[in-house]
């Protein structure tokens, strides 16, 4: 009898010991590790933006080599989704349910992000700094999702406002990609034009795979616009500017932050990008900003492979997750998702290499409880891909 009781006690104890740690510990967190995931297109039509995820990887390595966060090292799980939402969803589910991810960082693209937004929200898995300025992240706000990228609609408004009020432009043509990214820009531009009592001179939509752009360019040229707003893919924006200049169509081009990597744009347009004005979310590589310089020498020079280029999208991978690291530091040793989300909500006036970031306690009626910034600034491309800052950081409406 006594022997049977001892055995029952032993089995119960063993069971409790095996269960207790999993009950107490948060998914994706151990005594020594924090598991963070990210998707990014390393192949496919958007692969040029794959450097975002690689930049984040190098930044996490740097954090680990500098002691980690409260005694824990970050284990970074990055996968290539090829900018294909089906692959994004499959990859996120596999890692979330197989490995167990504590939180997701960044992730390029509106459409891939939309494919997993509801899944992550349902599981209340924190997702910080999606690499796209879509209104879908914060309208309505989600408890688990903290956006850092300035809204595309806000960027478009800021550009159109600058064109009308500072440059006296009156006829604005809008060239946009026929997807959520392009339409966010289109809606912002339309709203700002309406506020000034104007209408677009022409709206020209592009499909992502369009490579023959002659009809699009002809429509833009025919509109006789004095400002052309480009919300397309990088190669398409480059082609439109090059072709318009070749056709002697002299107008002011403006574009979104996704086309604000001036050294790249200057190179692929063979100099035609000079004079284009862009909204952007981060200081330029040649700005001399101390944060940019620090990351260049301590992160990029040390961890990036030699074929990697130090450009806006590489360090955007750092910029978008800086608030996440701040949140992890503020959470302390007792790292649970609830504590982390509470800590993220306490972030006020955080300034890394991007815009100022502020979050608030969750309020389903206030998108700025989860949209961390409404700031952007405008830059003009100079010869050789250098940037001239036209405005300081400014609040977008």
């Amino acid at each position: 009898m006594k022997k049977g009781l001892m055995l029952a006690l032993f089995v119960s104890l063993a069971f409790l010991l095996s269960v207790v740690p999993t009950v107490c510990a948060e998914e994706g967190v151990t005594d020594t590790e924090i598991h963070i995931g990210q998707w990014g297109p390393q192949t496919g039509p958007a692969a040029a933006w794959g450097s975002v995820a690689r930049g984040t990887g190098a930044y996490f390595q740097w954090i680990n080599d500098n002691g980690g966060i409260h005694g824990r090292k970050i284990v970074y799980h990055m996968f290539d989704d090829g900018y294909n939402p089906a692959k994004t969803k499959a990859g996120v589910k596999e890692l979330q349910e197989g490995t167990g991810i504590f939180a997701w960082a960044s992730g390029v693209g509106t459409t891939p992000g939309l494919a997993v937004r509801d899944y992550l929200a349902k599981k209340n898995v924190p997702w910080i700094g999606p690499s796209a300025g879509s209104l879908h992240w914060v309208n309505p706000p989600q408890k688990n999702l903290f956006a850092v990228y300035p809204l595309y609609a806000g960027e478009a408004k800021a550009l159109v406002k600058y064109a009308i009020e500072k440059m006296g432009k009156k006829r604005v043509a809008i060239a946009y990609l026929n997807d959520e990214y392009g339409k966010n820009g289109l809606r912002g531009a339309q709203a700002e034009l309406k506020a000034h009592g104007l209408k677009p001179a022409v709206e020209v939509s592009f499909e992502a795979k369009d490579s023959d752009l002659q009809p699009h360019v002809m429509k833009i040229r025919k509109s006789n616009a004095d400002m052309v707003l480009l919300w397309t893919t990088v190669p398409q924006a480059a082609k439109v500017v090059g072709m318009c200049k070749a056709m002697k169509f002299d107008t002011q081009f403006m574009s979104t932050s996704t086309c604000s990597d001036f050294p790249l744009m200057t190179y692929i347009t063979k100099g035609a990008w000079e004079g284009v004005i862009c909204a952007t979310f981060g200081e330029s590589p040649d700005s001399g900003h101390p944060g940019i310089e620090k990351y260049k020498t301590e992160v990029f020079d040390k961890y990036a492979p030699k074929e990697e280029r130090w450009g806006l999208f590489y360090y955007a991978g750092i910029l978008f997750v800086e608030p996440m690291i701040e949140g992890l530091k503020m959470t302390g040793r007792d790292l649970t998702r609830e504590n982390f989300i509470s800590a993220m909500e306490q972030i006020k006036g955080f300034k890394g290499i991007g815009p100022e970031v502020n979050f608030k306690p969750y309020n389903k009626n206030d998108m700025y409880s989860r949209q961390g910034t409404n700031q952007t600034f405008l830059v003009k491309c100079l010869a050789g891909g250098k940037a001239e800052k036209l405005t300081e950081w400014m609040d977008m409406e």
Binding site: Q42, T43, D210, H216
Partner: protein, 291 residues
């Protein structure tokens, strides 16, 4: 009226790159009856090879292009010899699947080796240099592509019609057993066909590369080239070229006057219509095999 002329001119300009890809597809189809879906990526790898010679080895453009053409021919021959010829009891469907497999491998290789960031190839003619006649604009690069497509079509047409090798290629397609009986080395002919086709594709790739280079740059030209080849009848070289120009012009007029959103789909609507109405294509005279 100016708009209409400009759309037609632009259509002809863009049709030239479709024509080159269409020609490359027709060459292989003429001998093996296999639509080669790896054609775009064969051109892609040749273009990146040229870029490597120009930027990493600092070769002159003429030498780099010459070496690239040799590379393209060898690549085509190698793929036929090392992969397609090894297929056991091949049927057309199996061969198509193999070409899709090759396409994926080559695409992956280019992405891995050269990266995904956009590039442009140094070239004597800038992509945005143009000639303006009155209000009509055409870029010099498009003009060069147009001339190249017409010259290549003529040379290939004469080659297939009058040269011994060309006739042997035709014979291989029409009846490979009979061709073997009269002494044609059909394996070698097939290998050469792949080499020539790869060379034509490389020319198309090199003429696209000064504007923009990235691993997916050949998708659109390949699909449109394939559409043109189908429209032209798959076996007719002039047919593929004329269909490519028709396609370019129709696309531009459709985009300009009807709907720019659905411009890209026009090519595929045309394929469906041609396959329904005249399955042998608009310009082909199909050889009928007698039992």
């Amino acid at each position: 009226m100016i708009d209409f002329i400009q759309m037609v001119v632009s259509g002809v300009a863009v049709g030239s790159s479709y024509a080159l890809m269409g020609l490359a597809m027709v060459i292989i189809y003429k001998t093996s009856e296999v639509p080669n879906f790896a054609q775009g990526e064969m051109a892609l790898i040749s273009s990146f090879f040229a870029m490597m010679l120009l930027t990493s080895f600092n070769l002159s453009i003429y030498l780099a292009f010459f070496i690239t053409f040799v590379f393209a021919v060898l690549l085509g021959c190698f793929l036929e010899f090392a992969i397609l010829r090894r297929a056991k009891e091949p049927n057309v469907l199996g061969m198509i699947v193999i070409t899709i497999g090759i396409e994926m491998v080559l695409l992956g290789f280019v992405s891995w080796k050269f990266g995904a960031e956009q590039k442009t190839m140094p070239f004597p003619i800038g992509p945005y240099e143009g000639i303006i006649f009155g209000d009509i604009f055409i870029s010099k690069l498009d003009l060069l592509t147009l001339v190249t497509a017409l010259v290549l079509m003529s040379v290939l047409y004469l080659f297939f019609r009058y040269s011994k090798l060309g006739l042997a290629m035709k014979a291989t397609q029409q009846n490979s057993v009979a061709a073997q009986i009269v002494g044609v080395r059909t394996n070698r002919i097939l290998m050469l066909t792949w080499g020539i086709s790869s060379l034509v594709g490389a020319v198309a790739g090199l003429l696209i590369s000064p504007t923009i280079m990235h691993p997916y740059m050949m998708w659109d030209p390949l699909l449109k080239g394939f559409a043109a080849a189908v429209m032209g009848g798959m076996t007719s070289l002039p047919g593929a070229v004329i269909a490519a120009y028709m396609l370019g012009i129709i696309e531009n007029l459709f985009g300009g006057y009807i709907s720019i959103e659905f411009k890209t789909v026009v090519a595929f609507v045309i394929i469906v219509a041609v396959l329904c109405i005249k399955p042998s294509g608009l310009f082909a005279r199909h050889y009928v095999k007698k039992v």
